[in-house]
């Protein structure tokens, strides 16, 4: 990103997209104060170097990519510091999940985000949070459908292990 956005542009972006962004960050981070921190940091980034958004054909998707990267970085940092569990509960999602979302599977995969390789973390978000098809995810990441299929299977197995563990402890 080069060049920043004006205050007027930022204010308009905030009014239009902040609800969707904070809702998504709550899902990814499972920590209310961290979600608000990342929202703030993301807008700071746009203020400093978000001019490319003006050319984006799908602004929401572009924004999600920026904020997802920030969120995944934070999860990695938290994991590197040995803080594996979020400190705060998140506010209730007033809207609820989209009909296509498998909430249990999504939440299990999200718990892995901090420990995944960058491309796997991105894939996990595209397939389990956004619910893109594997074909769409392949196009988005520039990988073959076969590779995506293998990686999604591996993610599902790791997520199942988490769910099984929770059942044993729950």
């Amino acid at each position: 990103m080069s060049g920043g956005l004006s205050d007027t542009e930022l204010a308009m972006l905030y009014e239009k997209y902040s609800f969707l962004l904070i809702r998504r960050l709550r899902v990814l981070l499972r920590d209310e104060s961290l979600a608000h921190d990342v929202l703030h940091d993301g807008f700071l980034k746009l203020m400093q170097s978000g001019a490319a958004l003006r050319e984006a054909q799908t602004p929401l998707r572009w924004l999600y990519r920026v904020f997802d990267n920030l969120a995944i970085d934070r999860l990695r940092t938290r994991r590197a510091r040995g803080q594996h569990e979020p400190l705060d509960q998140v506010a209730e999602d007033r809207v609820g999940p989209a009909p296509s979302v498998d909430v249990e599977g999504r939440d299990a995969v999200v718990k892995l985000l901090g420990e995944l390789e960058e491309s796997d973390a991105r894939l996990a978000v595209l397939v389990f949070v956004d619910r893109l098809t594997q074909e769409e995810a392949a196009g988005e990441l520039g990988l073959s459908r076969v590779t995506i299929n293998k990686r999604v299977k591996a993610l599902r197995m790791r997520a199942s292990a988490i769910l099984d563990g929770e059942e044993m402890h729950g």
């Binding site: 239009k16 997209y17 608000h36 705060d88 619910r131």
Partner: protein, 210 residues
């Protein structure tokens, strides 16, 4: 359609709610109540956002001057660093006639329930405790002397009794002065516009003690 379902991806529905044109999704929405309701709910919630100029003004403020919101709720209070040590119901007289509240002020682990006027200093954590004599929808937060709104309890329906705000606030080195407010969403909106309001108030002032 998302794999394994008859519905578009969550991203597609969110994009449509944000005003992006997706003809295939629009066609689906004409036939699918669940997806249409989801998009409508998203669109409605998106319109309820606070003014962007207010947020941008905060962005322009040096980071160290920002107040950090620390969200806590029920069983995670311990992990969030604020363990509620005070026990016992709120005084009975506070339950008479509408809503009343106090602030739980945590200073280095020592907690005190304060009402009327609350002196605060750097490092304090504040949690709101409010009581209602009948079921009602309530909202709570702090309106700072700089006219900044710090939400601590989004609007929610509460039953009769005493409740704690969903989040706490930690006072950073910029200090904190203003008013803590609890009331109906319309009372809060009026108070934030500095209009006469039925919201319950506790004044927050700087503690001169070292």
């Amino acid at each position: 359609m998302a794999d394994g379902t008859e519905h578009p991806s969550a991203l597609a529905l969110e994009s449509v709610a944000a005003g992006e044109v997706m003809p295939d999704v629009q066609t689906h929405l004409e036939e699918c109540d669940a997806c249409r309701m989801h998009v409508d709910a998203l669109s409605g919630a998106m319109k309820a956002t606070r003014p962007g100029a207010e947020f941008v003004a905060e962005l322009r403020r040096p980071k160290r001057k920002r107040l950090r919101l620390a969200w806590i709720a029920g069983p995670v209070a311990l992990a969030a660093g604020l363990v509620l040590l005070l026990r016992g119901p709120a005084p009975e007289d506070r339950l008479k006639g509408g809503v009343s509240f106090s602030i739980i002020r945590d200073r280095g682990g020592a907690q005190e329930r304060v009402s009327g006027r609350c002196l605060v200093k750097v490092g304090d954590r504040l949690l709101l405790e409010f009581a209602t004599a009948e079921p009602r929808t309530l909202e709570a937060g702090i309106l700072t002397a700089k006219d900044e709104w710090l939400p601590m309890q989004p609007p929610r329906s509460f039953g009769e009794g005493t409740h704690l705000s969903q989040s706490s606030v930690r006072v950073d080195d910029a200090g904190l002065e203003g008013r803590a407010l609890v009331g109906s969403p319309s009372d809060i909106a009026q108070a934030r516009r500095h209009e006469p309001s039925a919201a319950a108030i506790i004044v927050l002032a700087r503690d001169p003690a070292p």
